[in-house]
């Protein structure tokens, strides 16, 4: 059904998806780029953000969703950031950020977080009210106003992160460490502390994206798998250590996924999208963006 409104819907959904994906992937991109490690527990940080959002909005305050949401936006990154710092200090530092050991360690972390949530929050998927809800009627279909807000918020947060990286001293340290950690250390950059901050920042960004999508997807203990997979793909397709590439890849994959879904049956669409990503990487192994500079 390739009508104009179908294409518009695809673009809309794709853009919202791309914005959220960019925010989710940015954290992973930072961690990957600066620390050169794969954090398999990244999706669990997203899930934690969603669970905290549920807890604030539906359980704790139950008053007005907007209040709960605002509280979650503040609280979730703090909680998740703290967990990340603990994980870095207790585990990652001790395996010396060795890539393979980090894989095993973060896989362990994934189980710990996931099962911890299962035992406390439970196995069911729970909904929460969006903080602001209105329905926008376009010709041919209705759309969630909240999703549009999410896209806007995601872009805002991305902008804030960019400012942080470009304009602050910590941001400078991060960029230096990403480019050349040994030289940075020689110049007095406290690399170990930067690693901890980067890991925490990556987790916080993930948690924020979790808070944003919770009113759309609900909160469920297994929901971290999808963001993990997608973030990975985006980070690598964008080009390792390349933040602009990550954003580009998020746009490409988000909107591309939306468009392909309009044209084909769901499973076939997913097969095509999957093979397309593989094709991109076979042809351009370094990812979409060429350079290593930000």
């Amino acid at each position: 059904m390739i009508t104009g409104s179908a294409i518009f819907l695809a673009l809309l959904e794709g853009s919202v998806g791309a914005a959220v994906l960019a925010l989710t992937a940015l954290g992973l991109s930072l961690v990957f780029g600066v620390m050169r490690v794969i954090n398999i527990a990244h999706g669990e940080f997203v899930m934690l953000g969603a669970v905290v959002a549920w807890w604030c909005a539906a359980d704790l305050l139950g008053a007005h969703p907007l209040l709960g949401f605002a509280v979650a936006l503040a609280v979730a990154p703090l909680i998740v950031g703290a967990i990340a710092v603990a994980a870095d200090w207790l585990v990652l530092r001790r395996v010396n950020y060795d890539p393979e050991r980090t894989i095993v360690a973060t896989m362990g972390l994934l189980y710990i977080i996931q099962q911890g949530v299962l035992m406390t929050y439970g196995p069911d998927a729970r909904p929460l009210d969006p903080p602001i809800y209105f329905r926008v009627q376009f010709p041919g279909f209705g759309y969630s106003g909240y999703k549009l807000i999410v896209a806007g918020l995601a872009l805002l947060l991305l902008g804030a992160t960019w400012l942080f990286l470009a304009r602050t001293r910590i941001g400078l340290y991060m960029r230096a460490t990403r480019l050349d950690s040994e030289t940075a250390q020689a110049f007095g950059v406290p690399v170990k502390r930067v690693y901890a901050i980067v890991f925490a920042l990556g987790a916080m960004l993930a948690a924020l994206s979790g808070v944003l999508i919770a009113p759309i997807r609900g909160a469920h203990y297994l929901m971290g798998a999808d963001p993990l997979l997608l973030s990975f793909i985006v980070v690598i397709v964008g080009g390792l250590g390349n933040l602009r590439g990550t954003l580009l890849a998020a746009a490409f994959i988000g909107i591309g996924d939306g468009m392909i879904s309009v044209l084909f049956s769901p499973t076939l669409a997913k097969i095509i999208a999957t093979l397309l990503v593989a094709a991109v990487l076979v042809v351009k192994p370094g990812g979409l963006a060429r350079s290593t500079a930000s």
């Binding site: 060795d98 998927a125 909904p127 997807r217 203990y221 879904s261 499973t267």
Partner: protein, 430 residues
Amino acid sequence: MRVRSSHTPRGLSRRQILAAAGAVSGLQLAKPFIITARAAEDTLKIGLEAHRTGIGAVYGLWYERTSSAAVKVINAMGGIGGRQVELIVEDDATDAKRGTEVIEKFANEHKVDFVFGPLFGNVVGAVAARAGELKLPLFVVSEGSELADGAFNRYVFQTGITNVRSQVTAISPWVIKNVGKKVTMIIPDYIFGYNHRDFFTETAKAQGGTVNAVIAIPPTETSFTKYFSQIPADTDAIYHVMVGPGVLTFVRELGEFFGDKGPKLFGFIDSLEAVDIGAPGLEFLEGSHVWEAFPRYLSGLNTDNAKFYRSAVGIDENGASVDNPKEVCTNSHMFGCWETLFSIKEAVEASGYKGPADKQKLVEAIESTTGYDEGKGHPQGKKQFIGKAHQVFAPQFISKVEGGKLNVVHTASIEESLYEPKADYTKLPL
């Protein structure tokens, strides 16, 4: 891959920890050798293979609760054949590989007499095969139609819950007449979904309706809006049956897409099991209809036996846990565990089954059953059982969403749900 420095933590030395770990695992391996001091009670051991974790976790939770409640009631009644029932629960993580490992554990370590409980199709297929090899009677609580088609073996039964084909057969005339003639189906890309697609398409045609589009969504999908533009503009009705944690998002996004306009909806409660109908974002379901196997609300089936069942399991009149009104149960599936356990009781007592040597007598007893009466053991209603296909048939319910609750508006009889199953397991050797 290179290790820069290896850092031995202080405290216990690595060697001590390894020794301790070795001791623990050795103990674990030695368990079957160690003769337990427990006196060998004459219990009947029944294994529940539950989806305690994984995508089926919410079903596993309620399957376990319902089964424990049923066992308690049965034991209070004097047990099965005079023996108390011991329920052993294992988690299969809703995974086929783990499921077969668990079946082996049930057979070889726990040495149970029977196993019941798998629900999700991917697990059912795998464990059915293994159960047949192990000659372990397996009672699935699943709804798959393959059993009655002869896809499994003579050790697999479904005595507690009906299959999709009979459900669809029962309700499609009502759907075509009352909801719409041109139907778009939204199903999961699972065998479960294809069952719906195939049988509904067939029965709808017989009623003068058509299925004008089928949108099969892969299980890994978490957002659905982008697929809705594939719904043809002239669709009268949307038939939806989604499973898994994504159903919440699915139902909400459907509402956002259509608003007040749009086709009428008919869904299977599978899309809404364990979901509170009054939850935020589900308002647009108001006025639509839903198939149920066992009405979630007491008002839908207000019999003494249903009340007894509900209070034993611990659900209130709204189908939520009495301890937590926000915890909605999976009533249209979990009753299958209750009824399965009682059907096992009836089969054991009818055949005089005392142990694994009597398996043949048990299987033949089940195969010669023609049905079950409505009662404490079968609160959902009277049942008909087609022995040679190992499958039970039951009444089906259609409810309307009104005021955030479900009210039963139509009951389809067993006869309306009957079809001629292909299987004849009685011809197979044991």
